[in-house]
Symmetry: C2
Subunit: 320 residues, 2 copies
Amino acid sequence: VSVLVTGAAGFVAATLIDRLLARGDRVLGLDNFSRGSRALLGDKPRHPGFTFEEADLSSLESFRSALGAYQGEPIREVWHLAANSDIPAGVADMNVDLRDTFMTTFNTLSIMEERGIKRLYFSSSSAIYGDHGERSLAEDSGPLLPLSNYGAMKLASEAIISAAAEKFLETAALFRFPNVVGAPATHGVILDFVRRLKTDRRVLQVLGNGSQKKAYLHISDLVEAMLFVQSRQIPRVDIVNIGPTDSGVTVRQIAEETVQVAAPGAELAFGTGDRGWVGDVPRFRYSTDKLQKLGWQPKLDSLGAIRRAIHEICKQECLA
Amino acid sequence: VSVLVTGAAGFVAATLIDRLLARGDRVLGLDNFSRGSRALLGDKPRHPGFTFEEADLSSLESFRSALGAYQGEPIREVWHLAANSDIPAGVADMNVDLRDTFMTTFNTLSIMEERGIKRLYFSSSSAIYGDHGERSLAEDSGPLLPLSNYGAMKLASEAIISAAAEKFLETAALFRFPNVVGAPATHGVILDFVRRLKTDRRVLQVLGNGSQKKAYLHISDLVEAMLFVQSRQIPRVDIVNIGPTDSGVTVRQIAEETVQVAAPGAELAFGTGDRGWVGDVPRFRYSTDKLQKLGWQPKLDSLGAIRRAIHEICKQECLA
């Protein structure tokens, strides 16, 4: 079968598409390179099962014409990963997440309805919950009060997918991602730290006081979890929190671990306040009980994921 | 102070604006007459405190130019009521609720940020919850899985308002409306029944089997509840379910009550299935404990609201 992956030149797709090709799927990847890059496609363009089209999925015309150019078998499922990934940029300008995070979803559904494609796998986010302090957040927790436009437009995407499932979808998996780390990194706290240390090997300036504590999952575990859920019989609309089982690591720990690898001996300089930016959730507890009950466990906990990602990203940035 | 009311020519605004004018506010009303009508403005255009501008709020340019034309005092608060109100139309075409239910909210927030307006009162909907069977739905219930694009775009609106509250709003009240009845009616089950009975006084055809049971609130109680909540010290983002305390009435009861007033002796003919249309929630239990604990009670229960609305709408349609 053919599988459509949106955001194909992004961080998550880089690993996911390799796994889909490895299981024998033909993959059509679409991306506008707004956040991803051609380099992130890596070796994929040489794979006979992979086709790539450049398209701006926030434009229905661009989306349709990219699909019109595709000569492969009919598309049976869609992995919709396209989104803005720069949360502060989306806070500064509401239009960024409207366009790249929500309208890409809206148009994906329009296209799926037009073409009778009925299986959707969607990268939602823990950012839809908002700040609930120390409360453990499960799939049915509420109220949902996102702090960023990114989180808001992920929640809007969940909502419109839910309505589409009532109308025409057979399966819609809403994967709520935690912070995901690994290579090829395009954004995120580790890449930010590594790049800062490249320009100044003596001091690492950290936004906020470093006390923000979050759970992190390695990209390899994230992709495994999604394929595991897909392989199960799932309800029409299935929300699944994906994450490690531990309560996470602090920004301070990440900074210390990064310095150890990238610039041993560098000093840490912290800001004030427990938020790095508007829309940053200072503390975050995420229940992954549902996924564990289905029988899945990550190979790496938050600290393990961070450590592996630091090594991968230092290598990527030529620092190790 | 000046108050901006969007959807000013709609059903809810018809009653709300009268109350705002009565308490001494100056009101700027905006509407594009897509669902509302100039007739629904009633006597308001003759009130010295009321100004009306025709504008399509899904267009930021149209919105800005309508505000530019306004000569009154600076606007201090916004009651954002503009939305699509034809749920089946929005199911048939996703663009309807994107444009009229969501983009009007998005643009309202853009305008508020531009102008430094920090108090927002928003007509959300019980449609954001989706179908949870007999479970009683409170403000923090989840998951939120709307069945219609209308419900989805109301949830999307809540989400983007929540993010705006993190960035610049001081107060955002998210009022989750139940089914609201009364005059001047523009849509809804009673108006539909009355109009059907005008064309055929012998048989009333009902969509679905009539077993759908929902809570109804009279428009007068709805507006009282919102003004009551506004008069309280409320948190930055406050979600409030508004509704009666009973569990509702069935479509069959509404049909019987309507026939009694509008066309005594008419026969009832039911369809099959427990949903009137895609996106219709067959059964609905709504917790209004939060509002009751704040100290507010409706004057009419669901049956009382339905009965009063039937009389009002029969009068409106010249049937009584």
